[in-house]
Amino acid sequence: MKRLRETSWLIVAVPSLAIVVWLFFLPFIRSAVTSFQTEDGAWTFQNYITAYRLYAGDVLYTIFVSGVSLIAVLIIGILVSGFARIYGGGVVEFLFKIPLFVPFVVVGHAMRVFLAPHGLLNSALAQIGLVNLDNPPSIAFSWVGISVALAWKNMALAILLILGAFESVGDTFLEAARNFGAGWFRQVKDVLLPMSLTSIAVAAVLIFTSMLASFSIPMMIGSGKGAQMLMIDVYYRIVYQHDYGVANALGVVSYITAMGAAVYYLRSVTKG
């Protein structure tokens, strides 16, 4: 790679940098700073105290929902990728790419009508006698619905990344194990998984952050009752209560959670 000493190259970077700095970097800093300010600009921890009082449960709920969805995505993603790696992907792989191109809002809406108490899923299950429609389980409008929708949407990304990592494991590593009698599951568990840990951790961090930051899906199929996903709280705090202080305090909590996930995983991977 050639070395250029001049800083003049920054000229090509200035337009795009300006936009990202103005509309992401500075707002990012602003949200962190104003989270420590009252509306009049005085310094305070009050926003965090209010956030803790009102939303501590929601933070845990968000981590719980994202965590459960992430685990579901990883388990299914690893199993499907393992199957596709060993027996060939084909249709399975193609089908799973579809959600990648379905926007989040569409997923939210589709899941809302699909999983509603009298939605298509329950109606279909009622036809084969699995569900009593007089007292149907409400998958939508609960954390299960959010998890299902988040998992559905992120499955494609997970499989794309995990299968990519699995593909880069040479055939011979699998054959060496098969040779000793390792079945499909053991090949995944003993060979593919440990050899792809880094890539899977990166995928997990990406997906976890995306779930943590999800907004339209919980907005559309979350329940108004009980705990909320964090981004909903941020949105309502701003749009309904015009309270940037507490909203930004929640924002900072979400940054720290996202960062914590990234640091934790990357560290455990590089060390272990």
């Binding site: 108490p117 009298h118 409008f141 329940s223 108004g224 009752k225 309502y236 309904y240």
Partner: protein, 381 residues
């Protein structure tokens, strides 16, 4: 390859740079109408009032924007006007706005509105209490109520043969039928807020104090406990005003608070089972008007006034607001109802007779009380 792409790139760039300029322009006037509320409000302007108005004033074209339900919808209009005022823009790009009561305080305080009503021919019909006072703010001269809407409890008569007549009976019914009553909390639209406010009026018995003032935080003692009790009831929380209607129609709940205007519209559209009915319960539930206002620096003030005049004229109120939509008129009812067919009147007062409406049709609490009510509701866990 790049040479082929280049002209397209340049073309698009030129287009992009021209884009902001495309807003105004042309000799004909484009009247920008912005309305808060659910999509039915937007469609009313776009599909009914707009075309009728254009027939009368062919040089005007109408551009309608809906800003969404509840306070947030009105807030969006406020934010936009405020930004333009702060930026020192000469004319603002909203000509007529249709907003909720709750935003009026801020809008008038920040000088965003024009005192236009006296200049219109309908001023003499603007007589209701709503037209003078919006949740404690004096709005006289700034607003014409376009229509008055009311919340009520909608129910499925097949499942609820004997609908409750009061909050007390309703609570009993909810306890006896877990998860068959649904409302949309205080975040997802005003029908839920209205239900919660009515519950508060019932539990505290302080309707007059809360709706007329003065504001005193001491009156809020015990609210959190009241809402804890409400939240402990086995209710379904729906997804917004329309969410309650949808769950009712989908048979997922049997009862829930709704806006009368939306309920009737859904029935008219065939989106709601025509068998569904409504009841207004004791001690009453709030309603509110939607106000027609004109921003202080609207680009087309003359046309805007004409538009406000037009949609609030006794003829249009009779034909559209009452006759077509089945809503309560915003201006003097005695000037409107004579022009309405008996059939439409029957529809209007079918479920909720006029005397019930007079008795149980309340208003929302004053703005500070309402904010505190929402916070107390949020805090009750």
């Amino acid at each position: 390859m790049f040479r082929k792409v280049l002209p397209i790139v340049i073309g698009l760039l030129v287009l992009a740079s021209l884009l902001p300029a495309c807003g105004g322009g042309g000799k004909a006037v484009t009247l920008s109408i912005v309305t808060a509320g659910d999509t039915n409000m937007e469609e009313l302007q776009r599909n009914t009032f707009g075309p009728e108005f254009v027939k009368k004033y062919p040089n005007v074209t109408i551009n309608v924007v809906g800003t969404g339900p509840g306070d947030a919808g009105s807030q969006a209009i406020y934010t936009k006007l405020k930004a333009q005022k702060d930026a020192g823009t000469k004319t603002w790009d909203i000509d007529v706005a249709i907003v909720h009561q709750s935003i009026m305080g801020k809008m008038i305080e920040d000088g965003l509105l024009l005192k236009y009503v006296p200049d219109t021919s309908v001023a003499k019909y603007v007589i209701s209490e709503d037209a003078k006072n919006a949740l404690g703010t004096n709005v006289e001269g700034y607003v014409i109520p376009m229509f008055h809407s009311q919340t009520a409890i909608a129910y499925n008569p097949e499942k609820v043969p004997n609908p409750p007549k009061s909050y007390a009976e309703l609570v009993e019914w909810i306890k006896a039928h877990p998860n068959r009553f649904g409302y949309n909390g205080v975040k997802g639209g005003m029908s839920g807020v209205a239900f919660v406010a009515g519950y508060l009026y019932w539990k505290t018995g302080k309707y007059d104090l809360l709706s007329k003032g003065p504001y005193d935080k001491a009156n809020e003692a015990g609210w959190v406990d009241i809402f804890k009790e409400l939240k402990s009831l086995p209710c379904v929380i729906t997804q917004g005003n329309a969410g309650t209607l949808d769950m009712l129609n989908r048979g997922e709940i049997d009862m829930g608070p709704v806006w009368v205007d939306m309920f009737i519209l859904w029935k008219n559209d065939g989106r709601m089972n025509p068998k569904m009915r409504m009841v207004l319960i004791e001690p009453g539930m709030p309603g509110q008007p939607m106000y027609v206002v004109i921003p202080a620096k609207a680009a087309h003030i003359a046309e805007a006034k004409k538009y406000a005049e037009f949609i609030c004229s006794p003829e249009q109120q009779a034909a559209v607001i009452v006759g077509k939509m089945g809503w309560y008129p915003g201006i003097d009812a005695t000037k409107v109802l004579p022009n309405v067919s008996e059939e439409a009147k029957a529809k209007l007062f079918g479920d909720i007779p006029a005397e019930t409406l007079n008795k149980y049709g309340l208003t929302f609490p004053l703005t500070p009380y309402m904010q505190d009510m929402n916070t107390a509701y949020e805090e009750a866990k």
